[in-house]
């Protein structure tokens, strides 16, 4: 019985999948980091396992999986990947970074949301930055008011929020 839609047979690519090799390398590095962090723990547990046992086990597992991924990558046994629009991804990430920076410098929730909303909308193709900034501002304000007045949860407050 053929798989009913759960898998799509895509042609296996010939040649080495360099991204896959990079992933395998990343996993190996992660395994190393976990192992090194575990080995600096000096805890004496009388019976059973100490806190370093499971991390080492996980590190070993990751090492094995790194090899598994490497084998898959060298075989080129991966489905087709579409072309990626890096610019848009970068723009969204920049929006997120800006949001974090604003909150970190005490700029407040509302300005941060304004920037995030506008950046994301622009990344998705809209060319009306001013409108999006306004919409982001309104959404941010509404959320802030609902959260702080109705739900009494605190969101990062900057100079703008303190006016509310």
């Amino acid at each position: 019985m053929t798989d009913s839609g759960a898998q799509e047979t895509k042609p296996a690519r010939r040649g080495v999948d360099w991204a896959g090799v990079a992933i395998a390398a990343g996993l190996a590095i992660l395994a190393l980091v976990i192992a090194l962090d575990a080995m600096r723990i000096h805890a004496n547990v009388t019976y059973g396992m100490g806190p370093q046992a499971i991390p080492i086990a996980i590190a070993i597992g990751l090492g094995v999986l790194a090899i598994g991924n490497l084998v898959n990558a060298l075989r080129g046994d991966v489905p087709e990947r579409e072309h990626m629009d890096f610019r848009s991804v970068g723009l969204v990430l920049a929006g997120l970074a800006a949001m974090i920076a604003i909150i970190d410098f005490g700029g407040g929730f509302i300005p941060a949301m304004t920037v995030l909303f506008a950046a994301t909308a622009t990344a998705f193709g809209r060319r009306a930055i001013l409108t999006d900034l306004v919409i982001g501002f309104v959404i941010g304000t509404v959320i802030y008011v609902v959260f702080s007045q109705l739900l009494t949860l605190s969101l990062p407050a900057g100079p703008l929020e303190r006016l509310l």
């Binding site: 759960a6 992660l30 499971i54 848009s88 974090i100 929730f109 999006d132």
Partner: protein, 498 residues
């Protein structure tokens, strides 16, 4: 008869006006968010968790029940109207449902999905109510080594057994396990993987991970592959099903329930299996085979019922054993944990009002969904008409809001972004995402059970196989782990023979 009494008591709790209101809000919010493309029930629960912080545990769990079911109903609406299933379990619905919408029969498709979900969900909730006490009795006999073995089975089935690539599934799981390591070791107070950053001592929040992986990751992935917006099929014609539709739907509903509930209750990771099983069964059993591919109502009725029954089934191991077997269940577990509650036999004994109130609310949420959502279809369709740019911008704003309300720290927000990038890479390089969440939430639980078992046995590892329960479960886990590799090699073998 004990169960009836407990259920009746739960009904009394659930029918209190405040709790009814919570159920209503939950159903409404869940459907609204579930309708948005790319947002499945797991993410819906994760995004709406902060909204429930200030509520009492009973009320917020009832709201979760509503959100859970509402999210699933919203997902099927998206599958039928714009052929964009919010999660893999809705894929089967999209196959016939979208065709029905194109043929102007979107109303009956939505109706059969709603009614089928209600029928199957109600049957499954009854099943849950009756099975749970028996399972609790069994669970009480479980020692830590048995719980550990059970979690190992869950790990293996969620990541390796089902899915195209066991290696990638296991990699996802181990990434989740790694994230679970971060923080202070509860048994000895030693910090692990915190790299001197004090915020990391609390560990990685499940909601930050889930929202980062699902919401931010999805947004990044969609923006990288931007294509034409799908056209939303307007719901034309009557909303109601004809007598013929009813005749063709009721048996698929029941069969869908039979597929969904048992499979959902097993730690077999995912509702894809019962929905696709239901689809192929309906296809084989239908009296109108020519309709399949053009919009056969059985192809919507069966899978939708299976989906809903499987979701209720997932609650069986969650409530009785505290074992989440899907990303959505993991989010529900996080919801319990934020009140310091741990689902399992103890909770049934100590807070029966909470557990049975929750189960009773599932009935009520189901009924509310049916009554509310059919007339409100127009509203949901309008939600879908929001331009993609605003939709995802709004999703990111909500994601940030949720994270920053829970833990207003820059470290947390950076983790959110980092998990977003991880989610994007995982989608691009074809790594499954659910195992990461399950690994994060089950990993620490499994570790503490293992260490408890070993310290009770004074360091003797044989305790893991001495108990018949854990020996059996570990055996099953081993088979489940090895089977995909063996089967793959066998099929290669067969191909060579040809």
């Amino acid at each position: 008869m004990d169960t009836f009494a407990a259920l009746a008591h739960g009904m009394v709790v659930a029918l209190q006006p405040m709790n009814l209101l919570f159920a209503l809000i939950g159903v409404f919010l869940g459907t609204a968010v579930g309708v948005l493309p790319g947002i499945g029930p797991a993410l819906t629960v994760a995004l709406l968790l902060p909204v429930t912080y200030k509520l009492d545990p009973g009320g917020s769990l009832i709201m979760f029940a509503g959100i859970y079911y509402g999210g699933m109903y919203g997902g099927s609406t998206t599958a039928i109207l714009i052929n964009t299933p919010g999660e893999s379990a809705s894929m089967a619905t999209a196959l016939e449902g979208y065709r029905m919408a194109r043929a102007g029969r979107g109303g009956p498709a939505l109706a059969t999905a709603a009614i089928g979900s209600f029928v199957a969900g109600t049957l499954a909730t009854i099943g849950l109510a009756f099975v749970a006490p028996y399972l609790v009795d069994v669970a009480v006999k479980f020692g830590p080594e048995d719980y550990f073995a059970l979690m190992v089975v869950a790990f293996v089935t969620v990541s390796a057994t089902f899915g195209d690539s066991p290696v990638r599934g296991l990699t996802s799981l181990f990434i989740g396990l790694t994230l679970g390591l971060v923080g202070i070791d509860k048994l000895t107070g030693q910090p692990r993987l915190s790299f001197g950053v004090p915020e990391l001592l609390d560990g990685v929040e499940v909601t930050t991970l889930a929202v980062g992986l699902f919401a931010v990751g999805e947004a990044l992935y969609v923006v990288s592959r931007r294509h034409q917006d799908e056209k939303v099929e307007a719901v034309r014609g009557s909303l109601w099903m004809t007598k013929e539709d009813w005749k063709r739907s009721w048996k698929p509903w029941l069969r869908g329930f039979c597929f969904g509930f048992p499979i959902g209750a097993l730690p077999a990771g995912g509702a894809e299996i019962p929905t696709f099983l239901s689809y192929s069964t309906e296809r084989r059993l239908t009296k109108h085979p020519e309709d399949f591919g053009k919009g056969a109502i059985e192809g919507v009725a069966g899978p939708e019922a299976a989906n809903n029954a499987s979701a209720a089934g997932t609650l069986v191991p969650l409530l009785t054993l505290g074992l989440p077997t899907s990303a959505t269940a993991a989010m529900m577990l996080a919801g319990f944990q934020q009140y310091g509650l741990n689902p399992g036999p103890l909770l049934f004994a100590e807070r029966p009002d909470l557990v049975w109130g929750l189960i009773a609310s599932l009935f009520i949420a189901n009924m509310m969904l049916l009554v509310l959502n059919l007339p409100l279809v127009g509203l949901w369709v309008r939600l879908l008409a929001i331009p993609q740019a605003w939709l995802y911008a709004g999703i990111l704003v909500f994601a940030t809001m949720g994270t920053v309300a829970a833990k207003p720290s820059v470290v947390e927000l950076t983790m959110l972004t980092g998990f977003g990038v991880l989610g994007f890479l995982m989608r691009r390089y074809d790594f499954p995402i659910a195992p990461v969440v399950v690994g994060l939430i089950l990993g620490p639980l499994a570790e503490s059970q293992l260490r408890r078992a070993l310290s009770i046995s004074l360091g003797d590892p044989m305790t893991l196989v001495e108990s018949p329960i854990s020996a059996t479960l570990l055996g099953i886990a081993f088979i489940a782990l090895v089977a995909p590799f063996v089967l793959k090699n066998m099929s290669r073998f067969k191909a060579n023979e040809d």
